[in-house]
Amino acid sequence: MKKTTIIILGSVIFLVVFFGISLLTGYNKLVDKDVSVDYQYSVIDTRLQQRYDTLTQLATAVNGFQAHEQTIYDMITSAREAYATAKANGDLQGMIDADALQSIALADLLVLFEDNEPLQATQAYGDYMDAVWGIESALSEARRQYNLSVQDYNLYVRKFPGVLYASLYSYDKEYDYWKVGADATDVPDIVFGS
């Protein structure tokens, strides 16, 4: 076999192997980033469930103190129902809206607590506030991690060579960010102690 033929054959084999490996790693990267978005979404879902449980306990705790509490309780319940419906329909914006509605209910609930001196004097009050702070902190972190993974995925499928892999493997979707109102993303500023 001539030397030129060997070089050409070698180059062809090299290119085939090179592109084969690129296609494999490109596909794996896409799957990794896609799965990461799904995972972070599931974390938000869990945290929202935890928040719903916490808010329900809170609403029950203020029961009987204010006439306003039924409105807030209804708001929490309807936010949860709206979330469940949006989730069943795969409506991300609907879920985000429900998340924001729950945040508004929480803010209203905190105002109710602040105006309620007999309740403030109880140990239960401090415990509820701790529970709220903890879950809002965790939810805020879950939203941030979700948005970071969405950003990572979206950047990859838009940039070269990810755009080629995304097109080749039909990963043409882009995820929306979890954007709730600026106020809703903050951990409530609850002051404790002296």
């Binding site: 974390v43 945290r47 401090g126 415990d127 701790d130 529970a131 702070w133 903890g134 879950i135 902190s137 965790a138 939810l139 805020s140 972190e141 879950a142 002051v191 404790f192 102690g193 002296s194």
Partner: protein, 261 residues
Amino acid sequence: MKPVFKVFILLSLILLFLTGCKTDDLYPDPTNEFYVNDFADTLVPAVESTIVREGERLYEEVSEDGEISGVQIVFATFAVESESNIAEYNITDIYNQWGIGTDDMGILVVYFYVGDEDKPEELVLSEVYIYTGFTMEMYLSPIEAGNILDETIMTDMDESMSTAQLLYELLTVVYVEVFEYEAFNYDMDEYQIYLDNYDDYGDYDDIWGWVIYVILSPYSVWWEKGVLLIAAALIFGVGGGVVKNIGGGGKSGGMGIRRRR
């Protein structure tokens, strides 16, 4: 090409590669002790020693079914110029960067002091946070963590004593809730005596005394002297970097609690 240039190019490439591998961490790496990271330089050596000793002991603890091990409780202190600077720190990011606790079984306690960081004695404790790993959330809720802070660091007790009590209360939760001990007992009066009589170098007296004895002793053989000399040189030479505690790779989901003083 001369061999020396080849070596130079090779070393440059290795250096370039290693530089490329360096990640841009936002926060300082944990210290070699790992369990105590006193960046504000406000903790007294006795308390630091207790945190490290108890941390190492806890890390070795294994549950009866063998499912849980490598639990870590880590303390960190930071000095900031003003309270508004505290918002620049994300406790979850610090937790995850340090990888506290095996299988997300970790607790991170962070103290923020406000003032001039060059004058540790003038720093004032402003905020305290307790953050838990994902799995630890099952055992230490924000309510429990908040109550522990109220009974320790939020009281008028001396800061060293309250930090020690905070550690012991967290250990109580871990040993009783996680490892199912019947109880975990500690005595703060005893601890006060320990604190008052603590010798900064006391922890090393025994081992270093033994090392010096073996090296100088006419009864020890040459290889014993050699091994100990090399070990001692390494420990002093790299600042104690030979024996290094590290994180268990745990992650936190941001569940925690805060108290303001």
